[in-house]
Each structure stands twice: as C-alpha cells, then as structure tokens.
C-alpha cells in the first residue's frame, strides 16, 4: 500500500463554502445556524475542556504506560475499561437515569481522541460500546430494552458488540445472508458474522439478520442476543496488524434462539438502523484516528527536538519541518471536521456527509501521520522501543472499518449530489 501523499489534503473541502444552488445554500445556512455557532469549533465550552483534560490525564497516566504491553500480549484492558466506565466514558451519551454520563457527541469525540491517543485498542473498545452497541439501542429500543441492554453496559463491567459484516459481505451490507425465522415465540438465527470487534469480551451483541432474502435490504432486522448464549459461538481471535488488545472474531449462529421481544426496532428496519448507527460510529472512529495521528505527531515532534544530525537537532531541517507541518494541518483539519459533525449531530441536524468526511479525513490523516512519524524517527521508528511503529499498525484499520474510505467517498458524493439537485 503506498501512503497517501500530502497533495491529497488540499482537495478535501474543509471550510470553503462552494458556489452552490439555492437549496444547498439554505441547507448549509441552517446547518451553520443550528451548529451552536462555529465559535465552538474555535474554543470549547468549559465543561468540554475539563472533560478533555480529564481524559488526557487518564490516558497519559493509565493507558500510555501500558499500551505497548497490551499490544505485545494482545491483552484486553479489562481494568482500564472498568475505570473508564466508572468515569462515565463507556456510556457518554446515555442519559443519567439509565446510568450514563448524559453528555453530547462533542464530548464523546473529545474523550475518544484523548483515550485513543493513549491506547488505540482501548479507544476502539470504548467506541464500539458507545456508538455501535449502545447507540442503536438508545435510538431504536423500547424503554424495557434500554433498561435491560444499556444500563448494565454503562459501568465498564460489560461491553457490547455490533455484528453486521459477514464473510461474504462487508461494504455490501444489504446482502446479509444471516437469517432469522420465527418459531413460535422465538426468533431462530442462523449464519456467520465476521470481523466483530469486542466479540471475545462482550456480554451482548446487536445482530443483523434477514427475515426475507427476497426483500433484499428491506428484509433485514436487528436483534439483541446475550453472550454467551446457546447457539452462539465465537471463531478464533484474529491475529491483526494493529489494535491487538481488542478482540476481533467471527460470531457463529447455529439455531440461536432469542425471545420475540429481542427484535430491536421495527421488522425490516435493520438496514436503516445499521446505516444510521454507522453514521454516528464514524464520528467515534474519526476521533480514534485523530488520537493515533496526534500521538504520532507528538512522537515525531519530540524526537525532532532531541535527535541531532549534522550538528543540530533535526527539527531545524526544513525536510523535517515540512513533514511536521503537513502532519499538523492534516490533524487539525480532520479534527475540525470531526467536531463539526459532532456539533451537527448534537443539534439534531443532518450530519451524514460531515461524519463521512470526518472519518475519511481523520483515517487518512492517521495513516499519513504515522507513516511520516516513522520516517522522522528513521531506524528508531521501525523498532518497538518507540511507539511510532505501533501507531503505524494501529492507524491502518481506521481506513477500513466502519465504512471503508471508498464507501465514505460514495456517501459524501451521494450527499453532495443531492445538494446540487435543484
């Protein structure tokens, strides 16, 4: 894979309002008005600054020191997840009555970035629990389902997972072949799900299965399945390039029976639920990518101060300075996109396009920055003594999961073209 070159970045339409049709202009205008002022992008509210600082302190003191060991040993950070749960980080958007922190998505993005900056694996565990597992239940679940399936998952003691992808389809989510048939007062699920993050550590999953293949994506519904459960088994843990401390495996369903009440949302709404859930999840992954990118920049900039060559610190060399500048711009642009997507979502405005832009920009920033960080560190970047090589490996997945960069481009183009239609 050749790394994305810096010349790609000027092409991202960050804050240049294009010459657009009246309809698009109106949409843009109302988006900006609804977004609680762009000033929030320049200066965060006090509460959010405090939240960011708290998460940063936690990441610096508790995650950073153990991240290399977690990566090497592929070990799940159970203690840290519990501590984060106690802080409210495992259920940021969940209302306090259900046991969550009752904060907004901007807070979630900030927390995710800081946690991931300390340890990207811990970050993805937090993200999947918040956005992919709790997210759809919070939005589409009945009060009873929320009590049963959300509240125990706010403390960090239990985490959930999201089972959409299958061995036969990732991007092509509508082609789900996992089936659900009704048998009396139970649903019987059959099929295999692939690449499920948190699978080996989860206590429940949101599974997408079709009740009628002929209806294609309209036949898919969402189901809540506890783990462990008869008829549900796990495949081997994947041996991944990065984010090794989080478990990824297949979930195999063989006549897995759940009560009828375990359907999440209306019948046939599964695809819509998945897509809307992924829209929000994208913001979480964008924030994770930002954390990895920032950690790479931190590593490279620190090294540039200390390493001398040709008589001075290498930070004095223009070649290094240009790299650091490009990294900083990539990160800051992606960060502002991520905050904007969060603010739009918090204001209950459409945010699909912005979330896709954020995830695309941030994940490509993560791979770019981690690549350049290794380059700045030279030989030291290639060995485990420095974290640069781990950031490089952790960054790569952000361009793939929760919607590949190609899918993000399709989503963005789709939204854009709608705006231009008069």
């Amino acid at each position: 894979m050749s790394p994305p070159s810096p010349s790609l970045f000027p092409h991202f339409p960050v804050f240049l309002p294009p010459l657009i049709s009246n309809k698009a202009n109106k949409t843009l205008g109302s988006c900006l008005r609804g977004c609680r002022g762009l000033s929030q992008l320049a200066e965060l509210p006090d509460t959010h600054q405090l939240l960011r600082q708290t998460c940063r302190d936690y990441a610096d003191r508790e995650l950073n020191p153990i991240a290399a060991r977690l990566d090497k040993e592929h070990s799940y950070p159970a203690k840290q997840i519990q501590e984060l749960g106690a802080m409210g980080v495992m259920a940021i958007e969940v209302p306090e009555e259900l046991g969550g922190a009752g904060m907004d998505y901007l807070a979630y993005s900030l927390a995710m970035e800081e946690i991931s900056r300390g340890c990207a694996s811990t970050g993805v565990v937090v993200s999947v629990n918040n956005s992919l597992y709790i997210g759809p239940i919070l939005k589409f679940g009945s009060e009873e389902q929320k009590q049963q399936w959300i509240t125990p998952f706010t403390t960090g003691e239990k985490v959930g997972c999201f089972a959409l992808s299958e061995p036969g389809n990732g991007s092509d989510a509508g082609a789900a072949s996992t089936t659900a048939r009704q048998d009396g007062d139970e649903w019987v699920l059959n099929g295999t799900k692939a690449w499920i993050t948190n699978s080996w550590d989860a206590s429940a999953t949101v599974v997408f299965a079709t009740t009628d293949k002929k209806l294609k994506h309209k036949g898919i519904s969402a189901f809540l399945v506890p783990m462990p459960h008869p008829g549900l088994s796990l495949g081997k843990k994947e041996d991944k390039l990065g984010i090794k401390a989080s478990s990824t495996a297949n979930i195999i369903l063989e006549d897995c029976r759940v009560p009828l009440g375990n359907m999440l949302g209306p019948r046939g709404a599964g695809f819509k639920i998945a897509m809307q859930t992924l829209d929000s999840g994208r913001i979480g992954i964008a924030a994770q990518a930002l954390g990895i990118a920032q950690a790479s920049l931190d590593c490279a900039a620190d090294y540039a101060h200390k390493r001398t060559a040709f008589g001075s610190p290498i930070g004095k060399l223009q070649a290094i300075q240009f790299k650091l500048a490009d990294m900083a711009v990539a990160i800051e642009s992606a960060r502002l996109l991520t905050w904007k997507a969060s603010l739009l979502r918090d204001a209950k405005k459409p945010f699909t396009k912005e979330a896709a832009m954020a995830k695309l920009a941030a994940s490509e920033a993560a791979t770019f920055c981690s690549h350049q960080a290794i380059q700045v560190l030279g030989g030291m970047g290639y060995v485990a003594d420095m974290p640069a090589e781990r950031h490089y490996r952790d960054a790569r997945i952000t361009e793939i999961y929760e919607g590949t960069s190609e899918i993000q481009r399709l989503v963005i183009a789709g939204q854009l073209l709608k705006e231009y239609q008069s």
Partner: protein, 279 residues
C-alpha cells in the same frame, strides 16, 4: 462546635493553591473543609532579565499535593464526616479553571480570591496564609487542608503559617487522616519514619504524597460542576494586606551539568577527591 457528639465539621475548605511557577497562589482552605489549590506550571525557563520564570503560554495545572488535599476532603464528605467542601484559590482569572476541576472532583462550592498582575507576582506564602486565615474565620471552617508544598516554589510554608495565624493546631505531611470524636488523628511522614498525633479541631492539615490517590473527575460530575457556585472576593474585602515583604533579586537556572571523569582504581578516586578538597 462545642457539641459533645462526634465532630462533624460543617464544611471543609480545601485551599487550592493555584498560581503559576514562581508565583504564589493563595492557598485557601476553608473549612468547613477548605483546601487550597495551587495551579502550577509544567516546564519552565528563566526570563532573559533573570527576574522570574516565563509563565506565558506555559501549561498550568493543579498542584499535585493540592489534588491529594481535594481528594481527602471529598472522601471525608463521602464518609459523611463533614458537611461541605469549599475549594479556594488565589490568583487571576485562570485559577477558576483549577477551582472547577476541584468542583468536578466533588467540592461543593468555590471561592476565587482575585489577585492579579504585580500583586500576583509577589504573592507569597505569608500573604496567602493571611488570606486563608481570614477566610477560615469568615467561613467558620473546622478543617483546612492544603497540599504540603507547591511544586513550583517548594516553599512548604503556607499550611504552617496559616495554622500559626489562626492559632490552630497543625498536622503537616499527613499520610493518613482520620476524625476521632472532636479530634483529628494524623499520621505524619517525618524523616525518622511515621509520627502519629492527635490534634484538636479546628485544625490545619497538609497533605503528603501517600495520603490518597486522587480520583479522575467523572463525566457526570464535570457537568454538575458547571452549576456549582464560585464566589469572587478580593483580599481587601477580607481586610488582608498582601504587600510582599520579600524582593526577588534574581532567578537563575541551575548550572549545566558538567561531564564527570573516569578513574581506574579506588585509590585514584580518593586521590581526585582529595585534590578537589572534598575529603
């Protein structure tokens, strides 16, 4: 007080010493339980004119010992041994951030004693102690908890001076603190080991490293902190004169570490030490 039942201090004031490096914050610990918070710098450089250290653009955060003091106060409240925790800090507008952190950790309300500009630059332990003493009397505090020292100036004076000004007993370098009836048992870390004392209330205690492990603020508490009140006062309102009795003549960085030298044998080593006049 004066009750024969177990002491339940009305409130604890934690003085949060929040001031930058080389500057003195006002430690306020109020009690009910007041603790004083100090906001200190992370990385420092001396200014070119050797007058003080550079504070512009330098990250400040709560003094680590003050964090421990806040944590202890909040723990006492959680055990229902005290009723209210008041966080106090002296300094410019920025110390409000530090007070908010204390509120997010569980303090009930804050007091920001406004000291700015030149006054802030010359604010030292004596001035802060006077402010603390005045506030402690005003708030009818029963316990004042401070960090044992600030990591910027390492003065280790404010707690002791505050106690003296109030004529209250003091339990400094506390590694353990418990309320027993109307007395406080303090285990102090001293050069020879650990010393356990029992002091009457009202009292001043300063927190040492092993007193506790400060908590991370939880997200719900960060949101709640937004609604908690921070009162604004000026030293003059408390009748305190904060003119400094000290004049800083010069601030220098420590000398660059010189290279050592290697010797072959122990005799060589002793020889060299004798030459340098060290033995």
């Amino acid at each position: 007080m004066g009750s024969s039942t177990s002491l339940v201090p009305k409130s604890v004031t934690a003085a949060i010493n929040a001031h930058g490096f080389g500057y003195f914050g006002c430690p306020h610990t109020f009690g009910q339980v007041g603790y004083r918070l100090k906001r200190t710098e992370q990385y420092i450089r001396v200014k070119p004119d050797n007058s003080s250290v550079v504070t512009d653009g330098v990250k400040h955060s709560m003094n680590p010992f003050c964090e421990i003091a806040v944590e202890e106060a909040v723990k006492l409240k959680e055990k229902k041994l005290i009723k209210e925790v008041v966080a106090v800090s002296c300094g410019p507008q920025q110390v409000q951030e530090t007070i908010r952190t204390a509120l997010a950790m569980g303090a009930d309300r804050g007091i920001h004693v406004e000291v700015t500009g030149k006054d802030y630059e010359t604010l030292g332990p004596l001035q802060v102690s006077k402010i603390m003493a005045a506030l402690a009397k005003k708030e009818e505090a029963q316990l004042v908890i401070l960090g044992k020292q600030a990591i910027d100036d390492d003065c280790n004076q404010t707690g002791q001076m505050t106690a003296a000004l109030l004529d209250w007993p003091q339990g400094t370098f506390a590694s353990e603190l418990s309320l027993e009836g109307d007395k406080i048992k303090v285990v102090r870390e001293i050069d020879g080991g650990l010393e356990t004392i029992k002091i009457n209330t009202p009292a001043v205690v300063t927190a040492d490293l092993r007193l506790n492990t400060p908590r991370y603020a939880t997200l719900p508490n960060i949101m709640k902190a937004k609604k908690k009140k921070i009162a604004n006062v000026k030293p003059a309102d408390l009748g305190v004169d904060i003119t400094s009795r000290l004049e800083v003549l010069r601030v220098d960085e420590p000398p660059q570490r010189q290279a050592g030298m290697k010797v072959e044998t122990v005799d060589d080593l002793v020889g060299k030490l004798k030459e340098a006049g060290m033995v």
